[in-house]
């Protein structure tokens, strides 16, 4: 399984599709323990990112990731903008110059993205943030390689597991124990990112 610029664009396309379909749902997750804008933020950002990369003609996936990163950074806003922006930016830097990414090169890119998110957000696992999806999924990929169905299941499980966590980072942290019982919004949108990857890789 190899990823070229076209597939990278397809990944963004699929991600956007899922985000738009679940815009209301994402916002509803952000309402009880946040400020109720996550769906709006993500839908605005990915729509613009897709428009940007669809219009371009990219030699490498890294170039796609860079434009996605810059668009997300300037269009999403809030906390998730710099987080997803940083993720794609680090992915771009880690995979720079390579026309086609093999499995190990792409996973290295995802590792860099995860590190970027953790650094930017000063968060670690267990804090009820998107890190709680990114870290287990990246680790699972390191151990198991690209297996679409396994990837999807891992991402979904990680997302659902945020429900029982108490938030200690982001807006949800102000709700302290009351944050328990709600899936984290950024974990859910991260799940869509990986679900889209699984579909693209699975050839759907």
């Amino acid at each position: 399984m190899e990823i070229n610029a076209t597939l990278a664009v397809q990944w963004i396309e699929k991600t956007n599709e899922k985000i738009q379909e679940n815009k209301e749902y994402l916002t509803s997750l952000d309402r009880p323990i946040g400020d109720g804008d996550h769906g709006l933020n993500m839908s605005r950002g990915f729509k613009e990112a897709l428009e940007k990369v669809k219009a371009g003609n990219y030699p490498t996936p890294a170039d796609v990731f860079k434009d996605v990163a810059m668009t997300l950074v300037s269009k999403v806003g809030g906390a998730s903008g710099p987080l997803f922006g940083t993720a794609f930016l680090k992915m771009s830097v880690a995979t720079a110059g390579q026309q086609v990414l093999n499995e190990s090169a792409f996973v290295k890119g995802l590792e860099a993205a995860l590190d970027g998110i953790k650094q930017r957000g000063k968060a670690t696992t267990g804090e009820k943030t998107m890190v709680d999806v990114w870290e287990p999924v990246v680790e699972w990929l390191q151990d198991n390689g690209f297996e679409p169905e396994g990837l999807l299941a891992e991402a979904e499980g990680a997302m659902n597991a945020t429900k029982n966590l108490t938030a200690t980072k982001g807006r949800a942290a102000y709700f302290k124990e009351k944050s328990v019982g709600h899936i984290d919004a950024g974990a859910a949108s991260s799940y869509y990112v990986f679900a889209a990857l699984a579909e693209v890789l699975g050839g759907k």
Binding site: K75, G81, P82, L83, R120, R171, Y174
Partner: protein, 329 residues
Amino acid sequence: MKKIINDPNEAVQDMLEGLVMAYPQKLQRLAETTVVMRKNVPVTGKVGLISGGGSGHEPAHAGYVGKGMLDAAVAGEVFTSPTPDQVLEAIKAVDSGNGVFLVIKNYTGDVMNFEMAAELAEAEGIQVEKVIVNDDVAVEDSSFTTGRRGIAGTVFVHKIAGAKAEEGAELSEVKRVAEKVVANVRSMGMALTPCIVPASGKPSFQLDENEMEIGIGIHGEPGIERKRIGTAMEIAHELTEKILKDREFSGDVAVMINGLGATPEMELYILNKNVQKILSEKGIHVYKTYVGEYMTSLEMAGCSLTLLQLDEELKSLLDAAADTIAFRQ
């Protein structure tokens, strides 16, 4: 939703336009951004001072742009951090070669977006330093939490770091006094009614007719306690005690009684009377008092109390002249 607006999605742009139209001799916009700047930026030989954050806290932050305080303010959507590209443009516009200082309120979004902007600016060869304001004692603070929010105490950071920058101090010195303010300032707020973000059209939370919430954030983040509304004296006690329990104050302090939006000045002055009484009983001397709307939360009713421990340096910087829309002395 009862608001004097046109398209809710254009509210911030409309506001910025109306603001510079009101004070064209003092303020200008940076084209195609949400940045409001002094007329004469960059000021030669001066560290550039920038603050900003989500809109809805007016007069913060554009109201503090001017001589003796900020060089530029970056406005995000209502209660949403501005994005790094906007902050970057502000940094580039105010840098005179002496570096730029960012005053950031401690919210995840603000911190991340401003930090990213700082990194981008540094990549372009601009020296950037920052301070993160976290004066709200309502929130627990530790390295394992999001930490305390930045609220009205931020205005003292603008004032004092602004005065230092205006003196021609270098970046590290501006940072030093800004950090000194942050170390010495504490705030505590309370709300009587929620506010309505124009784009959502709905109140951000609910409070019963006889309830107040102590320790609430300026975006309606939950506070410490929801209880029966008390008298001004009880509220003064509650806010003062929470602050004094967090940190000792002695000698000279500055006091800010900040209205959150809908609370009439009359009530702020009544609260001030009670706060001053409590402080004087505790032997704390009030060097200077500010009463008014400095850091609001749209049309939320409520207030916050801020205490700043002063020393000789902070006193002289607090006393220095300032000439902005919302803070002039």
